[in-house]
């Protein structure tokens, strides 16, 4: 029985397993040192994860893989162009860009949501075509309206004629690495202020709404926050935190420490103070696993990687934050409504949920997150290819999500991250492997493109297949409705034939 269960599990994860094997093989074939692959990989995780995570909400809301995130990316790019033109730099410039991109993305997301509500059931193809359509409008804006209609006098950004934006915009002196290089000290500081503000605000609102305020709890929170902040004034800690990147080794060690402390604290809290039943085995297993992971760091090959790779802290925090956001959102009323709508629009409607509005909200969330994701991507890459940066965004993000084991109807944070890791590993090593194996890097290049298209085609086909199987053979077709476009045309086939 148990064996069969394991086999079932493996079968469920077939896509993931296939890609793990593929990745391992291509890494071996590429003959690249692991440190190189790991370093590249962690850069790409930082760059791309946010975009992939932005896809999860629409999947849960039943709108499938959101090919419309391209439009969020465009919002970000318009904002980047404007702030670059205005000359804002550094993290301030980055935040301003995000601030500028957000309302645009909200508006675009709203429009996309409206459109998708008109094409229920064909959101994916509609989103894909919409991406191309929006690309046309985007090019119109950047090639002709900027400079042509709106005068922009900036020889650095505009092509010589003054009409149209250059092919690439260098972000080196503006927002390159602006997010990646936020020092940890600043992060802690900002975190402290946010916590304080939240506590005060919460108390204030409760006072205004005449609800009881738990002063003791607020005070304790404040003190704890203050204490953490105070720790950063210890010189040793301060100098450690002054860096903006974290050595992977330290990140792992820190993580293990946190896991251990958390597990033990939880265990003690439940067992000793609340006197509840605790799953001792589970706690123990997690602790042992943590220690084992720590042991692994002593293996030379692993150690080499760990002291080679440096993580941009703020970017990774943003990604973690989005994972948390996705999780928490699904526990709210709104999230529950989205899930309901995603499972069955009919039931949701009967339960008094405004289906169309929920779907639009999901699209707005996704589009805004995608615009932020594209910003993170651009600040890390450092050059902004005006007409190319967005074109493959949806394609690659969706492929990554699917490689992680997600489907058209189900996606989790874990699948997104795993997908990014696998997909981008393949992306890094495939051309190199192609060169090693066939003496032609292009083959690897084409192979990875094929993989990204193929995996999407496969996922879509499997989804459609399942849908047909569920509905059953006899009712697979909705009754033919009179075609709105074709029904009225009076020219018959006969007239076409006589012409020939």
């Amino acid at each position: 029985m148990n064996k069969r269960k394991i086999m079932d599990q493996l079968f469920e994860q077939k896509v993931v397993i296939l890609f793990v094997i593929l990745c391992v093989l291509t890494i071996i074939a590429s003959k690249q040192p692991l440190t190189f692959v790991a370093n590249e990989l962690f850069t790409r995780i930082a760059r791309n994860s946010f975009l992939v995570l932005a896809l999860i909400i629409p999947v849960l809301a039943g709108m499938g893989l959101n090919f419309g995130i391209v439009i969020g990316a465009m919002a970000a790019q318009i904002a980047v162009f404007l702030t670059t033109h205005w000359g804002f730099v550094g993290i301030g410039g980055f935040l301003l860009t995000a601030l500028l991109a957000t309302p645009m993305a909200v508006f675009f997301g709203f429009l996309v949501g409206k459109l998708f509500n008109k094409a229920k059931g064909s959101e994916m193809i509609c989103g894909l075509v919409l991406g191309y359509f929006a690309d046309g409008l985007y090019q119109l804006l950047f090639l002709f309206i900027f400079g042509g209609v709106i005068p922009i006098n900036n020889p650095k950004l505009m092509i010589a004629t003054g009409v149209g934006v250059k092919n690439t915009i260098d972000l080196k002196d503006t927002i390159k690495y602006s997010l990646d290089t936020v020092p940890m000290l600043t992060i802690v500081e900002i975190g402290f202020y946010i916590v304080v503000a939240a506590i005060v605000l919460s108390a204030l609102i409760k006072l205004i709404q005449k609800q009881p305020v738990n002063w003791k709890k607020s005070l304790i929170s404040l003190v704890v926050a203050g204490a953490v902040y105070a720790v950063t004034f210890i010189p040793a800690v301060e100098s450690f935190l002054a860096a903006d990147r974290l050595l992977l080794l330290w990140a792992v060690e820190l993580w293990i420490a946190i896991v251990l402390v958390w597990q033990i604290a939880k265990f003690l809290w439940l067992k000793v103070i609340r006197k509840e039943d605790v799953n001792v085995k589970r706690t123990l297993a997690i602790c042992v696993a943590a220690v084992l992971v720590y042991a692994i760091t002593y293996i030379p090959a692993v150690y080499e990687i760990l002291i080679y790779v440096r993580l941009p802290v703020m970017t990774y925090l943003c990604i973690a934050g989005l994972c948390l956001f996705n999780t928490v959102l699904m526990r709210t009323r709104l999230g529950q409504n989205m899930r309901t709508v995603g499972q069955s629009r009919v039931v949701a409607n009967a339960a008094g949920i405004n289906v169309d509005r929920t779907r639009i909200t999901a699209m707005i969330f996704s589009t805004v997150l995608a615009s932020w994701g594209q910003l993170i991507f651009l600040q890390n890459v450092g050059t902004f290819s005006t007409y190319g940066a967005h074109t493959q965004v949806g394609q690659f993000a969706i492929a990554a999500l699917l490689v992680g084991g997600a489907s058209v109807q189900k996606a989790t944070n874990k699948q997104a991250i795993l997908g990014v890791v696998l997909f981008h590993t393949l992306f890094i090593v495939a051309p190199l492997a192609g060169k090693e194996l066939f003496g032609n890097a292009m083959i690897g290049e084409y192979f990875r493109v094929f993989v990204s298209y193929g995996v999407i085609a496969l996922a879509l086909a499997m989804h459609a297949w399942k849908k047909v199987a569920k509905v059953g053979p006899s009712t697979e077709f909705a009754p033919a409705s009179a075609g709105a476009l074709g029904g009225g045309s009076s020219a018959s086939a006969a007239s076409g034939g006589t012409a020939g």
């Binding site: 009323r333 409504n337 309901t340 033919a480």
Partner: protein, 549 residues
Amino acid sequence: MNNRKASDKGGMTLERSYVLKMDNISKEYSGNRVLKGVSLQVRPGEIHALMGENGAGKSTLMNILFGMPVIHSTGGFEGTIEVDGQPVKIDTPVKAMELGIGMVHQEFMLIPGFTVTENIKIGRELSHPNLVSRLVGKSMEILDRAAMKKDAQAALDTIGLKLSPSQKVGGLPVGYMQFVEIAREIDKTGIKLLVFDEPTAVLTESEAARLLETMKVIASRGIAIIFITHRLDEVMEVADSLTVLRDGEFVARREIAETSVVEIAELMIGRKVEKLVEDQGEDTRVLSDDNIAVSLRNYVVHMPGELVKGVDLDIRKGEIFGIGGLAGQGKLGIPNGIMGLYTASGEVRVNGELLDLSRLGEALHHKVAFVSEDRRGVGLLLDESIEKNIVFSAMQVNNDFFHKYGWIRLHNGSATRRHAEEMVKKLDIRCTGIRQMAGRLSGGNQQKVCLARALTLNPEILFVSEPTRGIDIGAKKLVLEYLVKLNREQGMTVIVVSSELAELRSVCDRIAIVSDGRLASILKPDDSDADFGLAMSGGLKQGGGQRAG
């Protein structure tokens, strides 16, 4: 009856304490009156059965009660509704919900991927406020799963269902799903009236029995129940009173204690005075039990919603045979299975030849034609011309209407036109011309096109399913008369499948009543109303003895 007492109590305080009083309700859909001055009164804590044939107006009445958009987008209705003695205006489903009126749907409004708790609390989740929700709004509140689970458990306990609230609904047996639906309605605060729309239709016998028990429990807590059903035995078992509708008209309101099964059956069927078909002169047909056109043995059809669960039947050559019964009982499955539209098994013989049911078009090649009940879905190519619709089957089955050039067959336009013109004239199809799109025709004319298509095949046996559904009285008469004419003049065996008993009784030689996927009995058109009523309501099973043979 253990809740007789409740109804007695209701009787004492009769005047002031109707929980629901619908008075003189009328409703018109684009000139077609579907409800004519119907009244309905329900007392608190009583189970009130609402009965009637298909199309009697039950669902329209319930749609009005729930303020469904379909009512208000078509001009509203006439009459008054009182809840707890207060006149109310129910214009949206939300309003109905607020007034404490709930519905247990026939199709489950459940999400398989959700837990029982989530399904019970759907759209009405409990949640904690937090900082963000205080700023942005209630939708950002975090769900309080523990409290939700507690509520769900309480609702499940109320109806006595032993089920873990954290179980996924997807894996539950069908019978349990119904109970989850009920638990959801019970969980709504201030629920006063629950409508059960044919709740036992999808249940097994033991599940149905449990459901009825549960209904009594709910009623004993003071919640009134409107019980829509066809099954007389169930009504006799649980209901306190009943209202019968027929053709959109109020027929009677009775206390169960003061009525009998036979009386209810008669009330439901009623005697129709209209004569649908003029006498067609002398009947010179010779019908013989030795000359069988269609014979079914152990015949099973998997048509969703119209399952046929094993029918043995012989239809004589040259007769007009009727198949009747209520919707969902399986009568429609019989012709659909023979035509190969749904998977069927068993033995089907046409003129003695065995049909291979797995082969598409097998029946067509045995000179059997079919006019489907689903005109728009199965019967017609809506975007094609009338002429194309008329000749299509004959082209595909008999290779008619083609020019032949070597091995190539090309559509013969002029022959098509001639034939279509003739059919239009013969059947009096009202159209702007034979090139008109079939989708633009009225229901009656569409039906005539379907009939014309079937006749173009030159069939020996014709199945006509719901020949008069949704068409006006003039067309109805013409269609039925034409069927009789075909039968008398060409000796065609005609099998009419219909929900309208009156029309079966006016044209058929014999009528088989199908109930619960099986043959209930075969009756003569002039058998009594009570016989028909009982056969249709599954109250009396006598199929075996009366099988034609």
